[in-house]
């Protein structure tokens, strides 16, 4: 696959902001891996390392009024969306100060205020929900875009096809963001889907679609900007396929029998952070000192998140049966 040439570098401050957000996601997740080893984080943990350019480049294009739906590999999206790192980390710990009071853990990051609607751990489970969020926006006359992130593996599920059809049929303001990292757990795209060109498949539903270099944060940003504008402008559903790669195992339990070290190494040469730093350097947009400064800021922020999580509290067992049903009157639940 060849992509169009990468867009020109943006202004220095914006470029540094993109870099910072990729580094934040990377360092946050490296810390998570370390904390998993220390048994501070448990259960399933799916790291996004390698895919940072997608969240960093695309999420900020959404406005605060827009909605975001993601999967169990959602820490990056939540962080870039502005969910405080401390709250995300506390959720990973299972502490009450986490964004879901610790009840969801790593796979279920939600933030009603930031309009982050999951954290869904059932593959393709979020797609119909995104269609519904878009439907609500349409029916309520709100000009919101719903961005739905999912892996290429989800594109084999019935829910994917049903969602694409509904979105196109009803002309809904939803943007499907497929993060194609080539593997669904250990099953390669090539051995699991008859048509591996996902943009082409979207076209079968009459949904405008593009494949984007997901390792190039500027290409991601550019494509996302165009797509969001189109959706917001009444263009109906759109589809972006971000071609990316996860550098780590699928989850902490994965022995990675299905791909070679050489393949992983080859993709690491296209590390989105390293590539971007190189470009910034070549254009004299970043100096060593500034790079170090960003790194230090991020590390401090992650450390602070860990401190926040460590200092958090465990929900009392007496509260186990709360939140099976709502505690608030129906009227208060409105206005989502």
């Amino acid at each position: 696959m060849t992509f169009p040439p990468s867009p020109p570098l943006p202004e220095r401050e914006h470029g540094l902001e993109l870099l910072r957000s990729m580094i934040l996601v990377r360092r946050f997740e490296e810390k998570c891996a370390e904390l998993y080893g220390k048994e501070k984080i448990r259960g399933f943990l799916h790291l996004y390392i390698g895919e940072e350019a997608v969240a960093a480049g695309s999420v900020p294009i959404l406005g605060p009024e827009d909605s975001l739906v993601a999967t169990y590999r959602e820490h990056g999206h939540a962080l870039v969306r502005g969910v405080p790192p401390g709250r995300v980390m506390a959720e990973m710990y299972g502490k009450m100060e986490g964004c879901a009071r610790g009840r969801g853990g790593s796979m279920h990051i939600f933030d009603a205020e930031a309009r982050v609607f999951g954290g869904n751990a059932i593959v393709a489970g979020g797609l119909p929900v995104a269609v519904g969020l878009a439907l609500a926006a349409r029916m309520l006359g709100e000009n919101r875009v719903t961005a739905c992130y999912f892996g290429e593996g989800a594109a084999a599920e019935g829910a994917f096809h049903e969602s694409m059809n509904l979105a196109a049929l009803w002309d809904l303001p939803v943007l499907f963001c497929c993060e194609n990292n080539l593997y669904a757990m250990g099953t390669a795209l090539a051995i699991s889907q008859s048509e591996t060109d996902l943009a082409l498949r979207a076209a079968g539903y009459r949904i405008p679609a593009w494949a984007v270099d997901g390792m190039d944060v500027l290409a991601v940003e550019d494509a996302m900007r165009r797509a969001v504008e189109a959706v917001r402008g009444g263009g109906g559903p759109h589809f972006l396929e971000f071609r990316t790669y996860r550098f780590r195992a699928h989850s902490m339990f994965d022995p990675e029998l299905y791909r070679t070290k050489e393949e992983v190494a080859r993709w690491k040469e296209r590390d989105p952070i390293a590539l971007f730093v190189e470009r910034l350097r070549a254009a004299d947009l970043i100096e060593e000192a500034r790079a170090k400064e960003i790194e230090a800021e991020v590390v401090a922020e992650v450390e602070e998140a860990v401190r926040f999580a460590e200092a958090g509290s465990w929900e009392p067992v007496e509260e186990l049966s709360r939140f099976v049903y709502s505690e608030r009157p129906a009227a208060a639940a409105e206005g989502r």
Binding site: R42, G43, F44, G94, K95, G102, R103, G104, G105, M107, H108, N120, A121, I122, V123, A124, G125, G153, A154, A156, E157, G158, A159, A184, M185, G186, T187, A188, I191, S192, Q193, D254, P255, L257, Y258, W314, E315, V317, L320, S321, V324
Partner: protein, 330 residues
């Protein structure tokens, strides 16, 4: 031979594949990944891609294809990673597999085996911690197995494959690492009989699957307190071995049902009803139940533990049905 539950299931699959060329394994990540719970690791190299068939993420599709393959003369073992994901295939399982024989007036049977992991206890939160084998046991037309020992892990698959009807095998996630001795000549076991795993006279602990080790541990503790607890492993949730349930109650006159599923409308409710119907006058105390708390399972360890049956809870329930003075309190 020293082995694990995981290896016992793998051996059972290997044996079935060697025994009958119509048998094949199909499911998500069963091949190149080596199985979500490493059950099928190595089988792809041994049997090839045709018979260890990686399916895309399309539960309704490949479970339905399993039904069709069974109708067409094959003997598929379909692996759905976990019961949580089997909901995407619920229509195929409930509306097709379970009904075809009846709807066709006995003309079309579905010799299909579906395996899946079930249960909580690994801190994987609500969408990955369901124990809904009791739900499936509600469906006429399906047979529901819950192997809890190495012998059953090794022995139920072949019996299930020989069965003319759809059989669902639920493997509790906490059992895969279970270790123990298994005779070299371990063979098929019946799939329609409950088994007494520990003899006792004072109280019956009735359970299955992932709760069996907890019930046995509770029985051990009760023995230290001078209480003789019998442990009945249901093994098969549909059809239920009512006879075995009534027999143990007639022997001990006290019953505690341990079921990780939710209490309301549950398998434990069914068992309790059968005891009431068949052995009411044998009871010296009301039937007690230890079930999963009626909440979606939370992630943090302490809340998850509180949501699932534990040895302490089983002990408490057992003591509550024993006559005052039997069994140390507190």
């Amino acid at each position: 031979m020293k082995t694990t539950y995981r290896e016992a299931v793998r051996e059972a699959i290997r044996e079935a594949m060697n025994r009958d060329a119509r048998v094949f394994l199909m499911g998500e990540d069963v091949g190149h990944y080596g199985g979500c719970y490493a059950v099928s690791r190595g089988l792809l190299e041994e049997f090839g891609e045709d018979r260890i068939r990686d399916a895309p993420l399309s539960e309704a599709g490949f479970v339905g294809a399993g039904i069709g393959a069974a109708l067409g003369g094959m003997r598929p073992i379909v692996e759905v990673m976990t019961v949580n994901f089997s909901f995407l295939a619920l229509d195929q399982i409930v509306n097709n597999a379970a009904t075809l024989l009846h709807m066709s007036g006995g003309a079309l049977n579905v010799p299909l085996v579906i395996r899946m992991a079930t249960g909580g206890g690994r801190q994987v939160a609500a969408q990955h911690s369901r124990s809904l084998e009791g739900w499936y046991a509600h469906i006429p037309g399906l047979k529901i197995l819950t192997p809890a020992t190495l012998e059953d892990a090794r022995g139920t698959l072949w019996t299930a494959l020989e069965d003319p009807d759809p059989v669902l095998i639920f493997e509790h996630v906490l059992l895969y690492n279970l270790e123990g001795e298994l005779p070299d000549d371990a063979g098929p076991v019946p799939i329609d009989r409950a088994a007494i795993r520990r003899d006792g006279t004072d109280v019956s602990l009735i359970t299955y699957g992932g709760s069996l080790p907890k019930a046995l541990a509770a029985a051990e503790r009760l023995a230290e307190e001078g209480v003789s607890a019998e442990v009945l492993d249901l093994r098969t949730l549909r059809p239920l071995d009512t006879e075995a349930i009534l027999e143990t109650v007639e022997k001990t006159h006290r019953a505690v049902i341990v079921d990780e599923g939710w209490r309301s409308g549950s398998l434990s409710a069914e068992i309790s009803a059968r005891i009431t119907e068949g052995a009411f006058y044998e009871l010296d105390a009301p039937v007690a139940r230890v079930c999963g708390a009626e909440v979606p399972t939370p992630y943090p360890k302490h809340l998850e533990a509180a949501a699932l049956p534990q040895v302490e809870g089983i002990l408490e329930a057992a003591r509550s049905v024993l006559p005052a003075g039997r069994g140390a309190r507190g």
